[in-house]
């Protein structure tokens, strides 16, 4: 029995340390590497936010601008993304950050650590996170945080093995999306019929507004 437990624990510990060491080192290599160049050379203005700017601003029609907004992205992740992009691309003159009610209202912090959001976003930005960020996510959703490690491991390994040059494209950090749907009129109609919807504001989320301030 002792031998079994000793061997099993040893096997698991080796697995854990190799995985953790690889994730740590690959994250560091990616973070310090020259992998974060913007898609277009002459870009001076960049846009961040969630689905609203993602669908609103067609960057192929506007000179010197690139759209890096992505659906359901909260300020927590935008903050990491912006930091890295502006330090890696000195030519940027201005950054546009979307501000809407649902970026700061409470009750939707789920978009930071909710199961599907965390497992989707964590591998994208893990290499940019410091220990505080990691602990923050771990305490909020330990199960998905741990599950996401294997995906991070896989994506980092493939990124390095395949010798990719652009992490922004590889991880799909956001871009303009064309949508055929136009819901504005129907929404305005709905609001005019239900005035209550107009004032449907929740409390402000401290977490979100904090990262909003960080961004500024």
């Amino acid at each position: 029995m002792r031998k079994f437990i000793k061997n099993t624990l040893l096997f698991l510990l080796i697995t854990f340390f190799i995985t953790a060491a690889f994730i740590f080192m690959s994250n560091k290599k990616i973070e310090n590497g020259d992998y974060f160049r913007l898609r277009k050379k002459g870009t001076k203005y960049i846009v961040f936010g969630h689905s609203h700017p993602q669908y609103a601003l067609n960057d192929s029609l506007i000179d010197n601008l690139e759209n890096y907004a992505q659906s359901s992205e909260s300020y927590f992740y935008t903050f990491l993304k912006i930091k890295k992009i502006i330090t890696s691309n000195k030519q940027i003159k201005a950054v546009f950050i979307e501000f809407t009610n649902n970026q700061v209202v409470d009750g939707k912090d789920n978009v930071i650590w909710g199961d599907q959001y965390l497992s989707f976003r964590y591998p994208k930005y893990a290499s940019l996170m410091n220990i505080k960020d990691l602990l923050y996510l771990f305490t909020k959703n330990p199960k998905i945080f741990i599950n996401s490690q294997s995906l991070t491991f896989k994506e980092n390994l493939l990124f390095l093995i395949e010798n990719k040059v652009n992490y922004i494209n590889y991880k799909n950090w956001g871009s303009y999306f064309f949508s055929k749907n136009h819901n504005t009129d129907s929404l305005l109609n709905l609001i005019s019929k239900n005035p209550k919807l107009k004032n449907n504001f929740s409390e402000i989320s401290e977490t979100k507004i904090m990262f909003g301030i960080f961004l500024i």
Binding site: T15, I146, L157
Partner: protein, 487 residues
């Protein structure tokens, strides 16, 4: 709680440690712990259905005793039918009521009559088909005097609810499992290590092969109208691998987990895709269910004793019932029927027991005849899987029809090559080939890697295990529910 989830990775070591250390080898405490752990495991799906499981356990426990104690044959039969009736009644309500209501209403509408039956909005209790069959085998074995009833309720409940087999089998027999539950269990290092190896192999099959194939099988089956013949064949091929690796992977994890607790479960799969005829396939696929139907349905119906017609009739009955057991849908019934038709030639020409041993035993390669037989058998099962996977009968027929049409056009082959090249890449096909090779090499073992590297130098053996772990990390597909949980 899925076997390939973090929850199970926490749950299993806790139960393991408590089982071997906290109980100090006391059999009574070990069985109580197994029961509590099993009920907790089941309650994680939906605690409300725990009451159904406990009721089913109580029912078979008492009727088992009553059958044994009944003096007259008539009373034995009454108690037996009470148990069968209530067990199948639950199965009927939860699993088949809506199917019967819809089918009956449809049949009446064909006669020009209109009927609106109330359909039940109930979720299917996970594992109900499995634990119902556990219980039924127990009371039937008592009725046939193969075993005596178990008087200790805890021990009996562990037999029904032992967590590794609770939700998707293998469907155990009281004659096999109960004696192990009643016997003092000592920790066996070799057995436990073998259990971990089997779990690792099961995880590889499930997470790497099954889940990866599932993505493409789903893409093709869910949009079958958009694809042409050869791509549809590819879809069926992916599904064949998905269902095999999903279910046999699950069974490997279940068997391996049970072995950690010193318990051997019935083997459920024995490399079925290396079968040379359909009869052999059914001796190697979902063995615990096939043998259940053989022992508790085919033989009581007369088996093969009453001449050829009875044999044919009984074969059709067990295959149709087996299909229906899988789900309340005509697709499963046709799947069963198709398999019955496939097996008929070997029954009529009495060749169904020609291939009892594993193919090319003791050899590296099969003969050309064996390759042809295996490919032909696999082709037949592939057609049957289309019915199993299709959403309804119409979908299955149109799928098969499109395959027939598509095979005639060159453009279909181009589409499939494009699909392989653009959507799929070459990695998954390479992995599948590697998997088949490993299964081929290990086909004489209990599971493919059972003896693989056992005599190797330890670091080398561990490197092999790490390679499997790495493959799971790197190539695991998107997490999918185990297919057989829905049955």
């Amino acid at each position: 709680m899925l076997f390939n989830s973090l929850n199970f990775a926490i749950f299993l070591p806790i139960v393991f440690i408590l089982y071997w250390f906290a109980t100090k080898g006391n059999l009574r405490l070990q069985n109580i712990l197994l029961l509590v752990a099993s009920y907790f495991f089941y309650a994680c799906w939906d605690w409300r259905f725990l009451f159904l499981l406990i009721f089913s356990t109580l029912l078979d426990y008492f009727t088992g005793i009553k059958i044994h104690e009944a003096v007259s044959r008539k009373n034995k039969i009454i108690w037996l039918w009470l148990s069968i009736g209530i067990n199948l009644g639950f199965l009927g309500v939860f699993k088949y009521y809506n199917f019967f209501a819809d089918s009956f209403a449809h049949a009446l509408s064909l006669l020009g009559l209109q009927a609106n039956f109330v359909t039940l909005q109930v979720i299917l209790p996970v594992g109900i088909s499995f634990y119902t069959f556990h219980g039924l085998s127990y009371v039937l074995d008592i009725y046939y005097k193969r075993i005596k009833p178990e008087r200790n309720f805890i021990d009996y409940s562990v037999f029904v609810s032992f967590f590794p087999l609770l939700v998707a089998g293998p469907i155990e027999r009281a004659t096999h499992l109960l004696p192990q539950i009643l016997k003092k269990r000592e920790f066996d290092y070799a057995k436990a290590v073998d259990g971990l190896r089997q779990i690792l192999w099961g995880l590889f099959k499930k997470m790497v092969i099954a889940d990866s194939c599932a993505e493409y099988a789903n893409t093709i089956f869910n949009n079958s109208a958009a694809y042409s013949g050869t791509t549809l064949v590819l879809g069926a091929l992916f599904f064949a691998f998905q269902i095999y690796c999903d279910f046999s992977g699950y069974s490997d994890i279940a068997l391996g987990t049970a072995r950690l607790f010193g318990i051997d479960l019935l083997r459920n799969f024995a490399f079925p895709y290396f079968s040379r005829d359909i009869a052999e396939f059914w001796r190697r696929w979902h063995i615990s269910l096939s043998s259940w139907f053989r022992d508790y349905l085919y033989i009581p119906l007369g088996g093969s004793k009453g001449g050829m017609w009875m044999k044919i009739r009984n074969t059709f009955i067990i295959f149709i019932v087996s299909g229906f057991w899988h789900g309340a849908n005509w697709t499963f019934i046709i799947w069963g029927l198709l398999n019955a038709i496939y097996i008929m030639p070997s029954i009529i020409f009495k060749t169904n027991r020609n291939n009892l041993d594993i193919v090319a035993k003791g050899k590296y390669l099969p003969t050309l005849k064996e390759i042809f037989s295996m490919a032909f058998t696999f082709g037949l099962t592939l057609i049957a899987w289309i019915f199993f996977r299709a959403k309804d009968v119409q979908h299955a027929f149109s799928y098969i029809k499109s395959i027939g049409k598509g095979l005639l056009y060159k453009s279909s082959y181009y589409e499939t090559i494009n699909f392989l090249h653009l959507k799929l890449g070459y990695f998954l096909p390479s992995l599948m080939v590697l998997f088949i090779l490993i299964e081929w090499i290990g086909r004489e073992q209990q599971y493919a890697i059972a003896n693989f590297g056992l005599k190797w130098y330890k670091p080398l053996r561990w490197a092999f295990y790490y390679t499997i772990v790495l493959f799971i990390f790197l190539f695991a597909g998107k997490e999918q529910q185990f297919i057989y949980f829905q049955f």
